[in-house]
């Protein structure tokens, strides 16, 4: 099998090679990054295509079989995440390529390629230890990205993120050790067969879940999120909030769906759901009070992490589709919003809420991007966010648990409360019209393209749904 499907390995090798080469040949960093990105996109597309036509594909790295070697496996969920990373990430990284290779842009590109390789590896990993390694690699890349501008606030936020993340990893690793002691395997499929309901496995699940929740920024463990997202450059925040923040969740889903499927819908799952609901309300309320655009978006990300966790108490295929759709559409919409904030910040010089005043007329593309991406965050149709909320609410009502549906709909209302003030500024009269500074044109276009992706997700959801169904695990 490994001989016929080399693409799956190249989704990791290509960005990794790109990262390494652009460190070595620093002068040619940008062209190398472009070539590596193109190669990665091709392999991602090929892998997703294979999954779509043939179902799950796998490949054993180094031709070592399952319990011993490293197996890469792309199922529907993995392919969906691959595709998300492969569309949103390169678009965001375009803004660095557009800056023609200053040292900062170079650092950004290297770190992004490294993060991309780790993210792809994470989406394709099929054993709990590899998942641990990849999630660690993603964290390291993320810390590097946060401090890419080397300013003091970012350094503090990056360190905080690193420390908390390590605590989370420690918890996770303890869980892995417990599982290995009890079952003598790390492969998720084998674990699923061997795990027995006994205190050791419950402790393992609890430890691993707690660690991942901390990494994912689930309320009330979200304290590290706002400083990290607000002190990093907007393009980095776009990657953090859109893609990297989803990585721990992917691991969590694998853990619950493949290793502990019996726990879905149970008491512990309901606790996760309740924390998710808490996150939706608390994050939205803080976003409503925030006065800076980046802060609004950071808290909005906290709220959206909450939606992801509504899957656990419901545990149905519909809820899973909904949560996956939240992940995908939020990735596009949030990244688009952060890139638009980049344009606003550079044009006006700050990112206070009223910074959008006047931007609408002078930077119409950015305004359209804010509007479209904002619609997706609010869950208004037609947008990916609407499809996601529709699926979640319907899944909740089909199980007769109307309160989760109420949370979803109330969350949408709250998000309208913090998104519209951003758009409203655009229609406000301008008391004075200060000269806008030059803003990067490509950042505008990146933001708009991502917003269009978020919109398109709401127009053609069937294709992606079909991909998700292939996994057929839940």
């Amino acid at each position: 099998m490994s001989g016929t499907t080399p693409w799956i390995s190249w989704t990791i090798l290509a960005p990794l090679a790109g990262a390494t080469l652009s460190v070595l040949v620093a002068r040619r960093a940008v062209p190398i990054a472009v070539i590596a990105s193109a190669a990665t996109i091709v392999s991602v597309a090929a892998t997703v295509g294979q999954v779509a036509s043939a179902g799950a594909v796998s490949s054993a790295a180094g031709a070592w079989g399952a319990p011993l070697g490293i197996t890469l496996r792309a199922d529907g969920f993995g392919a969906l995440m691959l595709a998300t990373f492969g569309v949103v990430g390169p678009l965001v990284s375009l803004q660095a390529i557009g800056r023609r290779g200053g040292p900062r842009a170079r650092r950004f590109l290297v770190l992004w390629l490294f993060a991309w390789a780790s993210l792809n590896a994470l989406a394709l990993s099929a054993d709990v230890f590899n998942l641990y390694v990849t999630v660690e690699l993603v964290t390291l890349a993320a810390v590097g990205l946060i401090v890419v501008e080397r300013d003091r606030r970012a350094l503090a936020a990056g360190l905080r993120y690193l420390l908390l993340s390590l605590v989370g990893s420690l918890f996770y690793l303890m869980g892995v050790a417990l599982l290995y002691a009890a079952t003598a395997t790390l492969d998720t499929e084998l674990l699923g067969e061997r795990v027995t309901p006994e205190p050791a496995s419950w402790t393992a699940l609890a430890l691993m879940t707690a660690g991942l929740c901390l990494k994912a920024g689930l309320c009330p463990l979200h304290a590290w999120v706002p400083p990290a997202y607000t002190s990093a450059p907007p393009a980095v925040s776009a990657l953090l909030s859109g893609l990297i923040g989803k990585a721990p969740y992917v691991v969590l889903v694998r853990l619950w769906v493949e290793v502990f499927p019996g726990s879905l819908g149970g008491g512990a799952a309901r606790l996760l759901g309740a924390l998710g609901a808490l996150g939706i309300f608390w994050g939205s309320l803080l976003a409503l009070r925030a006065r800076r655009l980046k802060r609004v978006l950071a808290y909005s990300s906290v709220a959206h992490v909450g939606y992801l966790f509504l899957f656990f108490p419901l545990g149905t295929a519909g809820a899973w589709a909904g949560a996956a759709y939240v992940a995908v559409s939020h990735a596009a919409a949030s990244a688009s919003m952060f890139m638009a904030v980049e344009v606003v910040e550079r044009s006006v010089g700050h990112d206070m809420l009223d910074a959008t005043k006047g931007v609408a007329h002078r930077r119409p593309l950015t305004f359209v991007a804010l509007g479209l991406a904002g619609m997706s965050l609010m869950g208004l149709p037609p947008s990916g966010g609407f499809v996601a909320k529709w699926l979640l609410a319907r899944a909740a009502l089909e199980r007769g648990e109307w309160w989760w549906a109420a949370v979803v709909i109330a969350g949408g209302l709250l998000s309208a409360g913090y998104v519209f003030p951003i758009l409203r500024g655009a229609f406000a009269p301008q008391r004075r019209s200060p000269e806008l500074r030059r803003a990067p044109r490509h950042a505008e276009l990146v933001s708009l393209s991502l917003a269009v992706v978020a919109l398109a997700l709401g127009l053609i959801p069937l294709r992606l749904m079909a991909l998700l169904k292939l996994a057929g695990r839940s």
Binding site: F386, W390, R424
Partner: protein
């Protein structure tokens, strides 16, 4: 890809495509913009005419686009959809022409007409929606695309009105969505069907059905401006006159009333709705809103505010007609969708003419204005008489059918409500009309700048809609009149 499967989509696209194009048009290309606008409106009207003829001959037009596993986006031209499509398409043409004149020389016209077209596209989607999900998608699009029009002037008052508008409509949308999801999760996807889409088996979920009905109608009641969810409408009158016309006649409040009608007749079915016992409270609420709106209108000094409260009252005629069981009241309610639209758009055009030409905003400033602007005031008089219910203007037909229907259904109290409302309407319209024609002018008006009393772009649409309000009353007996068409719809809803 036959005409039958693509025509509804094209009716939508004839305003969606121009809407998107207009955003990219440089601000100063006024000629091109007007050409795009008017030709798109005419194209839509022509397509609508084709569909009206086809549906009358028994053809079906349906565009179905798969959306989610078991849910489709469905656009379908049934007779009720076409009633709304025709009204909106015709009034869009009139309002677009009016807006061209009204906004002459003001900034941000590309943005304005862009959103204006998107608004109408959303309205077409609402009218042609073949199931609740499709309806919801366009219902929310309408909210989003009207907001920039409400705040178009960018003043503090406009922004505040915009906030009120959003708070109400987004909230209403969320409640409506809850109802839609509830119905889908109970019974799976349902397309609208005449006499009700709910299967017989649905009756066992009695409580859930009542809850869903309250959520659906509660959400729609915001746009339909039913008491106590009406407050956004008078606030929104700070918007430019063509936008008021859009809110009050072409699109927004109509979308609410149309939606309520759809839910009652084509989702629940009128019999089931009455069985569930939800129609009587709705009728009482509508009756109260009718009287309440009229009383409020009486106390308003600002002309547009008075008209806005009059809309609050008039839209509830539609809801009342829907809520009373029987063919006759149904006809009355449905036909008022068109009648109220024509008359109210006329009145708002007149208010716009007065404000634009003479700077008149207060009711008291109307004294003697009939001498300076006889055509405008003539149109205003037609509209006002229609609202009161004086034959042969369209309004009386509505009241006649509503009253007759109420008697037949054994609800004579409704006739008292109609009578009271007619009196109140007379009380807030007639003094105004009398003053305009017979009182001595309060000030010296400046002479008209052109040959007509006001810019022709403003005058012609005003006179056209006034004439139409008269014509649909006079020629009500024809099959293709709104009344004839409403009879066709009611017959199909009540057929055994």
């Amino acid at each position: 890809m036959t005409l039958e499967t693509t025509l509804p989509l094209w009716v939508l696209l004839t305003s969606l495509i121009p809407g998107v194009l207009l955003f990219f048009l440089p601000e100063r290309r006024h000629g091109v913009r007007t050409t795009i606008n008017i030709s798109a409106a005419c194209a839509k009207l022509a397509l609508t005419a084709v569909m009206v003829r086809g549906v009358y001959a028994g053809r079906r037009y349906e565009t179905r686009i798969p959306f989610l596993a078991d849910v489709d986006i469905l656009l379908r031209a049934d007779p009720f959809a076409l009633l709304f499509v025709t009204l909106s398409a015709a009034l869009w043409l009139a309002t677009t022409a009016y807006a061209v004149g009204y906004l002459e020389g003001s900034p941000h016209r590309s943005r304005f007409f862009g959103f204006f077209s998107l608004c109408v596209a959303s309205t077409m989607g609402i009218a042609l929606a073949g199931n609740l999900l499709t309806f919801f998608v366009f219902y929310e699009m309408l909210t989003i695309t009207t907001y920039p029009l409400v705040v178009h002037r960018g003043t503090i008052e406009a922004l505040r009105a915009g906030d009120v508008y959003l708070r109400y409509t987004i909230g209403g949308g969320a409640v409506f969505l809850a109802g839609v999801v509830l119905i889908y999760s109970l019974l799976g996807p349902l397309d609208f069907v005449e006499r009700g889409a709910l299967p017989l088996a649905a009756r066992e979920h009695r409580v859930a059905l009542v809850v869903a009905f309250v959520l659906l109608v509660g959400g729609l009641a915001v746009k339909a401006a039913l008491f106590p969810l009406h407050r956004w409408l008078p606030e929104a009158m700070v918007a430019p006159a063509p936008v008021s016309a859009l809110l009050h006649a072409v699109a927004v409040v109509k979308a609410g009333a149309f939606g309520i009608t759809r839910v009652v007749y084509d989702v629940y079915g009128v019999r089931l709705a009455h069985e569930l016992g939800v129609m009587r409270p709705l009728a009482i609420l509508a009756a109260f809103t009718i009287v309440y709106g009229s009383v409020q209108a009486l106390t308003q000094r600002d002309l547009k505010r008075r008209l806005a409260y009059s809309t609050v009252s008039q839209i509830s005629y539609i809801v009342l007609g829907v809520a009373i069981f029987g063919t006759l009241s149904t006809i009355g309610g449905i036909v008022h969708l068109v009648h109220q639209g024509l008359m109210k758009v006329t009145l708002f055009f007149c208010a716009g003419n007065l404000a634009e030409e003479l700077g008149i905003h207060e009711v008291s400033a109307l004294r003697g204005v009939g001498r300076r602007m006889p055509l405008t005031m003539g149109a205003f008089t037609v509209g006002a008489l229609g609202m009161i219910g004086v034959p042969p203007v369209a309004g009386w037909i509505t009241k006649w059918y509503l009253g007759l229907g109420a008697f037949t259904a054994g609800e004579p109290w409704v006739v008292a409500v109609l009578g009271a409302s007619a009196l109140l309407n007379a009380a807030y319209f007639l003094p105004l009309v009398y003053d305009a024609w017979f009182a001595a002018p309060a000030s010296v008006w400046r002479a008209p700048s052109g040959r007509a009393e006001v810019n022709l772009w403003l005058l012609v649409p005003t006179l056209t809609t006034a004439a139409l309000s008269l014509a649909v009353g006079v020629f009500a007996g024809f099959d293709f009149s709104p009344l004839g068409w409403a009879k066709l719809i009611a017959r199909r809803e009540f057929a055994e």
